[in-house]
């Protein structure tokens, strides 16, 4: 099912997937702050209120715990809520219902709570310490949640469709820096992309770069540059952190024998630690070098451009690290 737009943005892809699922399944509804009349803070749901009406596009008070719990209850009795957190930074206000209600209800009771939680996250918009956070690691530790972090418009569409159809509480993290900066190569497919399948987005011989979300386009750009110096980088987009496709990562590392992990979240106990440890468990005897992590510094994300740039991984650091690991 291709969409009309020839080169849709990452944001268009999220909108198109939501629209398609709402058309397909009358049990799907949207709930969150400013999602209706205003069309969402980033305009992902622009026009949805007119098209689907206030019954299915629900503006809420500023009450993240409340509407996340509401979604849990509605899902328990058969609806398929899609919750929007205006910024991923505000998801901490809903930690209780996510951790204590949603994540463990199926394991405790056998009854499913299929809630999709969308949240724009990430840095590079100069938005500062409480509007730029990467929140994936807070939740990756908790059994019972799935975590989806698309890095391309194509994946943004197909993975969101799968997330909504999935019978589990799923955190779908949209990189807000990519919203209007990344365009699809052509018309979008709105076919579901299964959760739990990583993708080799660029083949290479010398070193594997394992990454996700904004790290994918960033990594591919750097890889193209390194190619000119004869360094061949394979880029693996994990796409879903939970479940993690260990096999695709391990196959790539067994081939290149070197691995670098890249993400925008802070380094300490970032998801890269899990990936690096998994590579070590699966591929120890294939490795020529220790696995290296590239991540943000262990500080909050600053606002001012020179400060933020000093904290968040930059292309030069990524290139230098890959070069070093590939040639060592």
């Amino acid at each position: 099912m291709p969409t009309k737009n020839d080169n849709p943005t990452y944001l268009d892809a999220v909108s198109a997937a939501l629209d398609a699922e709402m058309e397909r399944d009358p049990d799907v509804f949207l709930i969150g702050e400013d999602v209706g009349q205003f069309g969402g803070a980033f305009k992902v749901t622009k026009g949805f209120l007119d098209k689907f009406g206030p019954r299915r596009v629900v503006d809420t008070p500023i009450a993240e715990t409340g509407f996340t719990g509401l979604a849990a209850g509605a899902a328990l009795v058969g609806l398929r809520p899609v919750v929007e957190f205006q910024f991923a930074d505000f998801i901490s206000c809903a930690f209780d219902p996510i951790i204590n209600v949603l994540a463990r209800h199926h394991w405790r009771t056998g009854d499913a709570m299929p809630v999709t939680m969308r949240a724009p996250f990430g840095a590079r918009l100069r938005a500062g310490p409480t509007h730029s956070q990467s929140v994936e690691s807070y939740f990756a530790h908790v059994p019972g949640l799935k975590i989806v972090m698309p890095g391309t418009p194509e994946d943004a569409a197909g993975l969101l469709i799968s997330a909504i159809r999935d019978n589990n509480p799923t955190l779908y993290l949209e990189n807000k820096y990519l919203y209007r900066r990344l365009r699809a190569a052509g018309p979008l497919s709105l076919d579901p992309i299964p959760l739990g399948q990583a993708k080799v987005v660029r083949e290479g011989r010398d070193v594997t770069l394992v990454t996700y979300s904004a790290g994918v386009s960033q990594g591919v750009e750097v890889a193209e540059e390194l190619d000119k110096d004869g360094i061949s980088v394979e880029v693996v987009d994990v796409r879903t952190l939970v479940p993690l496709d260990v096999e695709t990562i391990a196959n790539s590392v067994r081939k290149t024998s070197r691995a670098v992990v890249l993400h925008e979240a802070a380094k300490r106990l970032g998801y890269g630690a899990e990936i690096a440890a998994t590579i070590q468990e699966e591929c120890f005897w294939h490795l020529d070098q220790p696995v290296v992590r590239i991540a943000a510094k262990n500080t909050p994300t600053p606002t001012s451009p020179p400060l933020e740039d000093a904290v968040i991984p930059q292309p030069a650091e990524i290139a230098e690290t890959l070069r070093k690991v590939a040639r060592a």
């Binding site: 809420t60 719990g69 979604a71 328990l76 009771t109």
Partner: protein, 335 residues
């Protein structure tokens, strides 16, 4: 605007104008609740249970009085003082005992336990420890009913201590703004674990909080099953008619500790003495005896039958198997 909170509900119907079968059923479930909980207190003391036992002594009038206003297809989101509401719905006493023993036959198969039980087939939500986390969930079940154009309601319980939490406020805000078919019952037993009400709320009553949400709120004697029943029935009718949520506060006293491990010696002796004279089960029994709805023989029969149910429930749950750990990783995710 004057507070819409008030002490007494609208004029109560005379006992002779009420459905005698309903009156009798409320009585039986209240007595059964007491019998099962008395038995479980003994089981705690005898070492049958895994942890402590959270009892609902003196909550029977609120729990059963409220639950008895619902249809079976209405949703219920109870807390740990609401064995009465569970039994009203058809939860088996042995299942509750099995939950407190971590048995394979408990509603969660031993994965969760003690007071965390529920059954979706009975439209009962199984809550986590973080009360009133069940309040936002209750708004969701009510939302689903409204979304589908059904006239089901969702009744949720919390305690006095719960009213301090953010999820209480957020659930009430959402439910009132979205006009959801909710009824929120506050079981005011005057203590949040060891902390007395005067240290957890500066409100004159807990139902007065309803004023802030622009919804009705009423405080009733929580030891009076019919007073609770009538107030909740009015709130349920309002919710079912599409007029939105209400708060009903029932005042009672927690006559045991927070749980059985807690001697609750922080409670003034006078308060226990005052409420010892207000046993909700005895009070209701006397109302029915006086009105001739039941007689002494019925009392003897119901008391003995429920005692036997509790004994049989203990026998069964004790004999039930413990869970098999080999499948512990199954079901973290739904298919």
């Amino acid at each position: 605007m004057a507070p819409r909170s008030r002490r007494k509900p609208a004029a109560a119907p005379k006992i002779t104008d009420r459905d005698p079968q309903l009156l009798r059923r409320i009585y039986e479930v209240m007595v059964l609740t007491r019998a099962v909980e008395d038995r479980m207190v003994a089981m705690y003391r005898g070492g049958d249970l895994l942890g402590s036992f959270y009892s609902g002594h003196w909550h029977e009038a609120i729990s059963v009085g409220a639950a008895s206003t619902l249809r079976p297809d209405d949703y219920l989101a109870p807390i740990h003082r609401d064995l009465g509401a569970h039994l009203w719905r058809g939860m088996e006493p042995w299942q509750v005992m099995a939950s407190f023993m971590g048995k394979a036959t408990s509603p969660t198969g031993g994965r969760d336990g003690t007071l965390h039980y529920g059954r979706l087939d009975l439209n009962i939500y199984n809550l986590p420890s973080h009360i009133p986390a069940n309040f936002p969930v209750a708004t969701g079940m009510a939302f689903a009913a409204k979304y589908r154009g059904e006239d089901r309601v969702c009744l949720a319980f919390c305690g006095d201590g719960s009213t301090s939490r953010a999820d209480f406020h957020e659930a009430l805000t959402l439910s009132s703004v979205l006009k959801l078919p909710n009824v929120f019952v506050i079981e005011n037993n005057q203590y949040a674990y060891s902390t007395p009400l005067r240290m957890t709320s500066n409100s004159e009553t807990l139902s007065a909080k309803a004023v802030a949400y622009g919804i009705p709120g009423v405080t009733v004697d929580g030891t009076d099953a019919l007073a609770v029943h009538d107030a909740v029935a009015e709130a349920v009718a309002r919710a079912r008619a599409g007029d939105g949520p209400s708060i009903v506060e029932g005042i009672t006293m927690r006559m045991h500790g927070h749980a059985e491990h807690d001697p609750a010696d922080y409670v003034a002796k006078e308060l226990y003495e005052e409420y010892a004279k207000k046993d909700p089960v005895e009070l209701y029994e006397n109302v029915l005896l006086k009105a001739g709805v039941i007689d002494d023989d019925t009392v003897k029969q119901v008391r003995e039958e429920t005692r036997q149910v509790a004994i049989a429930a203990r026998r069964k749950s004790l004999a039930d198997p413990m869970p098999d750990p080999s499948n512990i990783e199954d079901g973290v995710y739904a298919d």
